[in-house]
Symmetry: C2
Subunit: 242 residues, 2 copies
Amino acid sequence: MRPQIVLFGDSITEQSFRSGGWGASLADNYSRKADIVLRGYGGYTSRWALFLLHHIFPLGSGMPPAAATIFFGANDAALLGRNGEKQHVPIGEYKDNLRRIVYHLKECSPTMLVVIITPPPIDEEGRMAYARSLYGEKAMKLPERTNEATGVYVKQCVELAKELGLPSINLWSKMQETEGWQKKFLSDGLHLTPEGNAVVHQEVVRIFNEAGFSAPEMPYDFPHHSEIDGKNPEKAFQLQCI
Amino acid sequence: MRPQIVLFGDSITEQSFRSGGWGASLADNYSRKADIVLRGYGGYTSRWALFLLHHIFPLGSGMPPAAATIFFGANDAALLGRNGEKQHVPIGEYKDNLRRIVYHLKECSPTMLVVIITPPPIDEEGRMAYARSLYGEKAMKLPERTNEATGVYVKQCVELAKELGLPSINLWSKMQETEGWQKKFLSDGLHLTPEGNAVVHQEVVRIFNEAGFSAPEMPYDFPHHSEIDGKNPEKAFQLQCI
């Protein structure tokens, strides 16, 4: 049985297997070594994620995941009184929800490598332009998310990871280090371009490597073809398969 | 529990989660509906695949895969007396091996949707150019595979699918219908470009749809965000999660 890596999050996780996506790139890295399990739910908040916890990470499973990424907050940070109001989760509850998710995963398996990823930054102009492209004159007049408000959620997310001694990826800060991040990394002011996906991929790989969960150092599930003797293939498979 | 779709094959399956890959595209299509399980083994032949069968598709599993693609033959068709000689599998044995794989999968689950994919065509010039780019003067002087020899394996592969009443994808013929297939679909005379991956993806989706395993018609594993009432989220989750 191969180890599993579960990607648990919102649309930025759900879309991570599109062309150039960070999830697909991970699946390629861990091909023949670990399975990447996609559990991304577009539009979901940390509050709604709690309903899925016991189903995606059942307690008492004989083979719990070896690692998981938790990637919520972009929707929690939607503002009250604007278009995404129903997704808004108060900042204190957001932090509590993340804590509950982490506790559950650690109860599921104390050795699970849990990595928390903050939401990306918001390009408010990009959000508005995207809304206009969809709805024209009827588009929202004010963005449903702001970069500043999302930054408040990011801070709590990073603090929680520190409190719990978990690795985290501050995507919000990391992306804003690059000039032109608004269009380079974000396709609609929120979701990721292939370049934005590459940032997430690179950061997840870095954290996994630092935690000793490096794909190049993991064994293949079955022999590499170079180890197979054409005249006596049984030999290579003897240990694992016969 | 979500249905599983296992992609079982050689390097063309193993590499199917690279950017634009057909496996990643399937994972995106079936996101929130089914899990795509990557079981691609670079360099493997149908003969070596047999050693893995009971491990990848254990009998008596409580939840066998709902569907599987079998995608071997590109290596079996390597010619005797050339560079890939150790991979060569005689044509009769190739057909027998495929039959054994199918029988095993049907024993694993009689309702499993099994789709057989033929190897792609071979661009012999592309293979030679690729070898020269790696080894210069020391490169092989004759290609280790020919399009004609691969065509013989393709014919047996398609015939077997007909004998067993299984859907198949004749990638070899399909790709050669397009002018300039040699460079358009193949990156090194054998492996797939993003355009070549798109052909496989499109054909697999077509077959899955025809077999009633269409992603758009399958239910989401958990509620779509539009079905969740912000003030009363419990309601949407009640049936599945509480």
